[in-house]
């Protein structure tokens, strides 16, 4: 088309103007393709974002080569055990989205398989998130991200109740430190009214004291955006998975999708590292690799660029705030901007405060390393703020940081969610670009996916569907009498293997034999919290290695920390 070619030339000119370099641009159906060489990752990103920001461009496929660019390799096959099996629906990706979609679709009479490449659920974005259910005040109004966030947020009360997951609406508290900042507060209220909250509250000091006791005397006014929530994200993943399983879904962990077979632009089969399964409907919830899945299916129309976020977590003895605490000075800065380092002061349902996440574009989607700069940045930015505004709490030293972690967000160059049936391939639905606030939006996202499937396939209802899931008893939450009864019934309950978090041997055993069983020390940690406390596994590691070796019936030298070659011990002594 002539107009496509003209637009491509126009874009090419723009890129040359801003980066001073030449890349080849193609346009087709609103999809911009970028090719050529640039001297840096940064330049390639800038080009992508520049094109992504144009209204006429629907999505960007960025194939610009730069020094250090990562090459993608599909993982090798391990078996053919699944070959010949057939499912009505295949879901790629066992993050919060894939699992929630699986559960949602299990209310229909459909045979469903979910494939996850890792040996546990949610190991890419979801477990590295900050577990916050955002109010819809940050995402840009009018985007799909905003819409899903807006609709998703209020759905969490019911979802968390059905799934029996810790969820608390702690609110975001925006406080003003001086008259100048107080003058800005009405704007925060306005933004909240417009885009999120029916009744945001402008609080005076008395109300503030009820919401967040112990504020510095100079703080007189604030705004509470009450619908911000925090959730126990790993429990949520397990809950979605367990509920999906109990409603008939098959979940295959340690199984990567390596190809998609189509015929006449229709999905026919999916290749995995454990064989090829037949299906007519493929849901792409592959997070950081959603563009690869699209490519396998012959529908490559967007690129994912990983944006890393680092978080630091404090010991439970440092709990200075109840709310997501956002003084005006910080709230103003974290308005949506692509390149701010970002981050916030966010409590967790476990009682460990977190600072994070940062935002750093990286080349490698697998880059989950933490940096000294990231940690220093977060600590130096937020610790003094808390010291100033909550003077009753001593400023923590860095020794109070009990963990640091990082995860990559699966961003597209439009920086928006893609939730739609493929325009090219029948039976393919993309749920891609689900970066922040993808967790907060999850209930709305899956509803949208459900409606797409319902519209296309008209599936019958599964009368046996039960949306309710009950969580296992947490020993540490029981009172003494209940604990005593449990120990009398099962002495392993009285054998505490993690003294920081009071986790019993019985709980570790249960984690290793659950519906979604732990396969590693980290898996046990995520399920039970054993090793997550202040001694960071110093006490419990040898004990859990022993229990895992016994329960999994493998030698201690085969027990792994995470997956692959992450063995804990190299062998026996002489």
């Amino acid at each position: 088309m002539r107009s496509d070619r003209a637009l491509a030339r126009e874009i090419q000119g723009e890129i040359e103007k801003t980066t001073g370099e030449k890349v080849a641009v193609s346009m087709s159906d609103g999809i911009a393709g970028l090719r050529g060489h640039l001297t840096s990752h940064q330049a390639a990103l800038e080009a992508g974002h520049l094109v992504g920001s144009l209204d006429k461009v629907r999505e960007v496929v960025n194939d610009i080569v730069f020094p250090g660019k990562m090459r993608f390799k599909s993982p090798p096959g391990v078996s053919e055990e699944l070959t010949g099996r057939e499912f009505d629906v295949v879901i790629v990706g066992g993050g919060v989205i894939g699992l929630a979609v699986a559960r949602e679709l299990s209310q229909f009479n459909l045979s469903i398989a979910l494939f996850e490449r890792h040996n546990d659920v949610g190991m890419d974005q979801t477990t590295h998130s900050n577990a916050m259910i955002h109010p819809a005040i940050q995402a840009k109004h009018g985007t799909l991200r905003w819409e899903m966030n807006y609709k998703g947020n209020p759905m969490w009360d019911d979802t968390a109740r059905q799934l029996d997951v810790d969820f608390k609406r702690v609110g975001t508290l925006i406080v003003a430190e001086n008259a100048g900042e107080e003058a800005l507060l009405p704007y925060a209220v306005n933004a909240a009214i417009k885009h999120n909250d029916p009744e945001p509250k402008l609080l005076d000091r008395d109300d503030l004291d009820r919401v967040e006791p112990g504020l510095a005397p100079n703080i007189r006014k604030g705004v509470l955006v009450w619908n911000t929530g925090i959730i126990n994200v790993f429990e949520l993943l397990i809950a979605y998975a367990e509920n999906a399983l109990s409603n008939g879904v098959s979940i295959f962990l340690d199984t990567a999708v390596t190809g998609v077979q189509t015929e006449d632009f229709s999905i026919k089969a999916v290749d995995t590292t454990r064989g090829t399964v037949k299906t007519g409907l493929l849901i792409n919830a592959a997070g950081l690799y959603a563009d690869r899945i699209a490519e396998y299916a012959g529908d490559r129309f967007f690129s994912i660029h990983p944006r890393k976020g680092e978080t630091i977590i404090f010991d439970k003895s440092y709990q200075p705030v109840r709310t997501v605490f956002a003084p005006v000075s910080i709230a103003a800065e974290s308005q949506e901007s692509k390149y701010t380092k970002g981050g916030g002061i966010i409590p967790t349902t476990d009682g460990n405060l977190q600072f994070g996440p940062t935002a750093m574009e990286v080349c490698d989607r697998e880059d989950v390393s933490t940096t000294a700069e990231g940690c220093d940045y977060l600590f130096d930015k937020f610790a003094p703020v808390l010291e100033r505004l909550k003077p009753g709490y001593e400023r923590p030293d860095k020794g109070k940081i009990i963990a640091r972690f990082a995860g990559c967000r699966a961003a597209t160059y439009k920086e928006d969610f893609i939730i739609e049936p493929s325009r090219k391939v029948r039976g393919l639905v993309h749920v891609a670009g689900i970066q922040s606030p993808g967790l907060a939006s999850a209930p709305a996202i899956v509803e949208r996916v459900r409606e797409i499937i319902r519209g296309e396939r008209h599936p019958a209802v599964n009368d046996k569907f039960n949306p309710v899931r009950k969580r296992q008893v947490r020993f540490s939450e029981l009172d003494l009498k209940q604990q005593d009864e449990l120990i009398r019934a099962n002495p392993l309950c009285g054998h505490i293997v993690c003294r920081c978090e009071n986790v019993s041997e019985a709980e570790v055993v249960r984690a290793l034999h659950g519906d979604v069983p732990a396969r590693s020390l980290d898996g046990v940690k995520r399920r039970t919290r054993a090793g997550q406390g202040r001694c960071q596994g110093g006490f419990c590691t040898p004990r859990i290695v022993e229990i895992a070796s016994r329960e999994m019936n493998i030698g201690k030298e085969h027990v792994v920390k995470s997956e692959g070659k992450s063995y804990v011990l190299s062998g026996r002594t002489k």
Partner: protein
């Protein structure tokens, strides 16, 4: 609810000596609570020797030393609950504990001795950035894997920190056929005892690099290497000195801190310097009737010192239990003066001789004088090194008239 005279929490050298002494001092119902299957605490995994040189004039291994104390304990009527983890402690001396055998139980005690020992500092407490692969351990965990379970953690090993357990594990792992590439210490002086540097590193040609630290962890699944950097006088890494060292195991021997969870739960005042309870010379904490001894108070260099505090704690806990310590006792603070990083005890209560344990802030390789003022006692030493605790005794008579804080200083002569 169970009721006892003296409850001792923890059965390492401190707890064992405290329980034995409480019994000897006349307490009838003494209960020893231990979370492990056996008595002895960390001694069981310390299969090297060097224990009891002062106390028993013998060069025992850890288990031998523990055995000797356990034999002595068995002659007393002290009751032991093994596999029993104390989960809570209140200031009115109610203990909550869990055990497979005894269930969830509450125990009230007339007096309590805290002897839970210490825990190791971890990677996050030293804040090393990078990836999170397998193969990073604290030295004590490796000691347990090697000496109790009979497993090796890896083959090419880097040790960060020159604490004693790290030094001892350098030798042990070398004897087991692993390669210890080096010990890297951020300070300009070693953390462990001189005798361990000589016997565990020098004798095995394992290099010790002072003023060096690990600045990055590499490897996705299993550790593949660490980046080592030199540090400047402020302990900041010096840019451009980075060196990548391939290894599959990183051992952290970066310090110990008192196990202070229960102390906090009971509302006991903690010393910012030692991170353990503030105690008097009779090992009593700020909560009357709760005593603390051994590494739960401050991390001692030698088991003999630990046993000494255990003996005092046991004796006075017994006295407290039968009410022979008056309720309104006076005390004065003991404060760190010149070149003193920490000291123990931090308060003097006029009940006994004052035995001070002092750690210097900076090394002084010349004769020094340790001053305790008032009463103005002076003790000479040939040097003061942060890795070797100084011990000074001031007799009770000399302190009887003291009314203001006691200051302790280390000065060059």
């Amino acid at each position: 609810m169970m009721q006892v005279d003296v409850a001792v929490i923890g059965s390492g050298p401190a707890g064992l000596t405290a329980a034995i002494q409480a019994h000897k001092s006349g307490a009838r119902k003494v209960l020893l609570l231990e979370r492990e299957e056996e008595l002895g605490g960390i001694l069981k995994q310390c299969i090297h020797n060097g224990f009891g040189l002062e106390q028993f004039k013998q060069n025992y291994t850890g288990p031998e030393y523990a055995e000797r104390l356990i034999k002595e304990l068995e002659k007393t009527g002290v009751q032991c609950f093994l596999n029993t983890l104390v989960t809570d402690l209140s200031s009115d001396r109610v203990i909550t504990a869990l055990s497979p055998e005894h269930g969830a139980l509450e125990i009230t005690a007339k007096s309590i001795v805290l002897a839970m020992g210490c825990r190791e500092r971890t990677r996050s407490s030293v804040g090393i950035p990078g990836t999170r692969p397998a193969g990073i351990f604290t030295a004590g965990v490796v000691q347990r894997f090697v000496n109790i379970d009979g497993y090796l953690p890896g083959k090419k090993i880097v040790i960060l920190g020159s604490g004693d357990i790290g030094l001892i594990m350098a030798r042990r792992l070398t004897l087991e056929g692993a390669t210890v590439i080096g010990v890297y210490e951020i300070m300009s002086y070693p953390g462990g005892l001189k005798r361990n540097i000589v016997q565990c590193l020098n004798d095995f040609d394992i290099p010790l690099y002072l003023s060096h630290t690990v600045t990055e962890i590499k490897g996705k699944e299993r550790l593949e290497g660490v980046v080592i950097s030199k540090v400047d006088g402020n302990l900041h890494p010096v840019q451009g000195t980075e060196e990548l060292i391939e290894c599959d195991t990183l051992l952290l021997s970066v310090g110990l801190i008192p196990e202070n969870e229960l102390s906090k739960k009971a509302g006991i005042e903690l010393s910012p310097a030692t991170k353990g309870p503030v105690t008097t010379e009779i090992m009593e904490t700020s909560v009357p009737g709760i005593f603390a001894c051994g590494n739960v108070s401050t991390v001692f260099d030698l088991v003999d010192y630990v046993a000494q505090t255990g003996t005092a704690a046991g004796a006075f806990a017994a006295q407290y239990a039968f009410g022979s310590l008056s309720a309104d006792r006076q005390s004065v603070d003991i404060v760190a003066g010149e070149n003193v990083r920490l000291l123990f005890p931090q308060r003097y209560g006029f009940q006994d001789d004052l035995v001070l344990f002092i750690r210097a802030a900076e090394p002084v390789e010349k004769p020094v004088v340790i001053e305790v003022t008032p009463p103005g006692s002076k003790v000479n030493r040939v040097y003061a090194r942060p890795n070797e605790m100084l011990r000074v005794k001031v007799p009770k008579e000399k302190l009887a008239e003291v009314r203001q804080p006691i200051r302790v200083s280390i000065r060059e002569k």
